[in-house]
C-alpha cells in the first residue's frame, strides 16, 4: 500500500497510464483533459515511460492514431473531452467495431453552442451507443482505479472492447484531494503484459481490418458485439475483485448507498453522488429512509442488477447531468426506467436535469428532490415527470 498523496483527477489518470506501461498514446489537447497529456508527455520526455506519443492535429486523427496502433498490436490509451470527443465520434465506432481495446479517459464537459468549458455529461452520453464500455468515477481516486482496471477489462481475451473512463471535468479533474496510488510492481503485475489478438504487424499471419459487411453479415456482426457486451459485467466484477487484493478498495457494477431498507432513492452519477451521500446521511439522521444508487458501469448497463436494487423503493428520482431535449427524458432516466419496466412492483419515478455547463450541484438541490420524493411516497401526485433544477426561470 502506498501512502496518501494530494493529487488532481487528471494527475491520477496520467499516473494510471504510466503504471499501465502504455505502448502508444495518440492525443490532442482540450480543456479540461489537457493536464492528463501534459503530465503524461512529461513522463515520456523524462524517460519514466517508454510510450510512443503521437501528437495528432485533431481528435479525429488522435483516435485514428489509436486505432492504427491498437490494430498493429500495442496497448493504447488517450484522453479527451467535450468537442474533442464529439469530433472523434465517427472513429469511436470504428474502434469498437474492430474490437480494439483502447482505453480513453474522458473529462466530462458540456458541448457547444454556446461555448462552455464546465462539467456536464452531454459528451460521453452522446457516445453511449458507440459500442464502447463506459465507467464513471466519483472522485480522482475512482478515476485512477477505474483507469487501471480499464486496461484489464478492455484487453480481456473474451471482451476486446474499448473502454471510456469518465470523470467530472474540473470538479474532480482539477480538484486536489487525497489519492492513494498502487505500488509500481503490484500495478504492473495487475495490469499484466499486453496480449495481442490478430495484430496487423504479425507479417507471418496477415490479417485485414475494416472489411465491408453488407446486409448478409452486418446484423450478425452487431449481434456478436451485443453478445460480447453482455459478458462485460462479469469481467468487470472479476477485475474488481483482483484489484481489491492490491488496493484494498472495493468496486462493483454500481454503488448502493443505504439503499437496502430505503423507501425513497436517488440515482446520480460521478461527483454529484458524493454530495448526495452527505445529504442522504442528514435525512437518515432525521429518520427518513433514503438511499442512493451510483452507476459505475454505464455501458453495458447492468439492467437486471439495477432493477433488483431499486424495485422495492416507493419513489425514485434520477438525476441526469445531460438532457435529451424535448418531451423525452435524460439518458440515465431512460435506462433506469427501462431496467424497472420488467418489474411488477416498482417506484414512482421522476427525472431531474441538473448541473449543465458547470452549474454547481448544491446540497439544497438534492434536499429539494428528497423532500419531493417524501411527498410522492406518501401519495402526493407527481407535478412534473421531468424538470430542470438549479435553474432560473
Amino acid at each position: 500500500m502506498t501512502k496518501m498523496v494530494a493529487a488532481t483527477g487528471n494527475e491520477a489518470i496520467a499516473n494510471a497510464m504510466r503504471l499501465a506501461k502504455v505502448d502508444v498514446c495518440s492525443a490532442y489537447p482540450i480543456t479540461p483533459a489537457t493536464e492528463i497529456m501534459q503530465r503524461f508527455t512529461s513522463f515520456a520526455a523524462n524517460g519514466k515511460v517508454q510510450t510512443e506519443v503521437l501528437l495528432a492535429e485533431s481528435e479525429h486523427s488522435a483516435m485514428s492514431g489509436c486505432i492504427g496502433a491498437s490494430a498493429a498490436g500495442g496497448r493504447v490509451a488517450t484522453a479527451t473531452s467535450s468537442q474533442g470527443l464529439a469530433l472523434m465520434w465517427e472513429m469511436l465506432l470504428v474502434a469498437s467495431g474492430q474490437r480494439l481495446p483502447i482505453v480513453m479517459a474522458v473529462c466530462n464537459r458540456a458541448l457547444a453552442a454556446p461555448t462552455n468549458i464546465g462539467c456536464d455529461h452531454s459528451d460521453s452520453m452522446g457516445t453511449r451507443d458507440c459500442g464502447w464500455i463506459q465507467l464513471y468515477s466519483e472522485t480522482g481516486q475512482e478515476a485512477f482505479d477505474n483507469m487501471l482496471m480499464a486496461f484489464r477489462i478492455a484487453e480481456n481475451m473474451d471482451i476486446r472492447m474499448p473502454v471510456m473512463v469518465c470523470q467530472d471535468g474540473f470538479i474532480t479533474s482539477h480538484s486536489i484531494a487525497n489519492v492513494q496510488w498502487v505500488e509500481e510492481n503490484a500495478a504492473a503485475t495487475f495490469v499484466g503484459d499486453y496480449r495481442q489478438s490478430n495484430p496487423l504487424l504479425d507479417l507471418k499471419r496477415p490479417v485485414s481490418y475494416g472489411q465491408l459487411a453488407l446486409s448478409d453479415l452486418y446484423m450478425e456482426y452487431r449481434k456478436a458485439h451485443d453478445h460480447t457486451m453482455s459478458l462485460v459485467p462479469q469481467v468487470v466484477r472479476e477485475v474488481a475483485a483482483e484489484f481489491k487484493e492490491i488496493s484494498g478498495r472495493s468496486y462493483d457494477l454500481f454503488e448502493s448507498y443505504r439503499l437496502d431498507d430505503a423507501e425513497i432513492g436517488i440515482v446520480v452519477m460521478s461527483s454529484a453522488a458524493g454530495t448526495t451521500k452527505d445529504i442522504i446521511d442528514r435525512y437518515r439522521d432525521k429518520g427518513i429512509k433514503a438511499g442512493l444508487l451510483k452507476p459505475r458501469l454505464y455501458r453495458p448497463f447492468p439492467y437486471e442488477d439495477v432493477a433488483q436494487a431499486l424495485k422495492h423503493l416507493k419513489a425514485l428520482a434520477v438525476l441526469d447531468r445531460a438532457d435529451s431535449f424535448g418531451a423525452s427524458f435524460g439518458p440515465l432516466f431512460l435506462d433506469i426506467a427501462g431496467a424497472l419496466s420488467a418489474c411488477n412492483e416498482r417506484p414512482i419515478m421522476i427525472n431531474k436535469i441538473f448541473g449543465l455547463g458547470g452549474r454547481d450541484y448544491m446540497p439544497e438541490q438534492g434536499e429539494h428532490v428528497l423532500d419531493e420524493l417524501i411527498q410522492i411516497a406518501k401519495g402526493a401526485p407527481v407535478k412534473a415527470a421531468k424538470e430542470y433544477i438549479g435553474v432560473r426561470g
Binding site: I176, A177, N178
Partner: protein, 192 residues
Amino acid sequence: MVDAIAIRWHGRGGQGTVTACKVFAEACLSDGHYVQAFPEYGPERAGAPIKAYNRVNTKPLRGHYPVLRPDIVVVVDSTLLDCIDVTEGAPDGAAFIVNCNPKNCGDLRAKIKAKPTQRVVAVDASHISIATLGRPMPNAPLIGTVTKVSDMLSLQAVLDDIKVNFSKKFSQKVTQGNLEATRRGYEEGVEL
C-alpha cells in the same frame, strides 16, 4: 486543534492564490487530514478576480461544491475589497485574513463590514514576500497566516511539508525564501 475547516481564497489571476490553496492542502494531508483544494472553474486571466477553496477534515470529504460558509476568508489582494463582498456566507465565527500593512490599512474592520464576533487579521504579505523572495508573491506568507488562524496544524508541520515538496522542484534559495516567508506570515499577522 479543530476537526474541520473550510477556507475561501480571493485573489487575482497570477498572484499564486490557487498554488497557496494547494500547498496548504498538501501540508494538511501530510499532517494526516483529508483535504480538498480547488479553484472556481473558468477561463484563467491574469489580474481577474478568482476564488479558490479548501476543505480540511479529519473525516473523508465527499461533497463536491464550492465552500458556502467559510471559516476563513483570505483576501490575497486588498483592492478586491472595493469590488467583491468577501463576507458572503461567512458565519459569525469566521476570520478574515487580508494582505495589507496592519499599520496603514485604515479601518479594515469597517471596510469589510466584519461583525463584532468575526476576526480580522492583517498581514503585509506583499512586503514579506519582497523581503524574502525578492518579488511580490503574497501567497507564501499567507499560507503561514492561514496556518496560525486555522488552528488545524502546527507551523512546523507546514514548514516540513513545504521543505520536502519545494526541494523537489526549486533551488535551495527559493525553498528557503518560501520557508522564511511562511514563517513570517505565521508570526506577523495582526488581529484588528
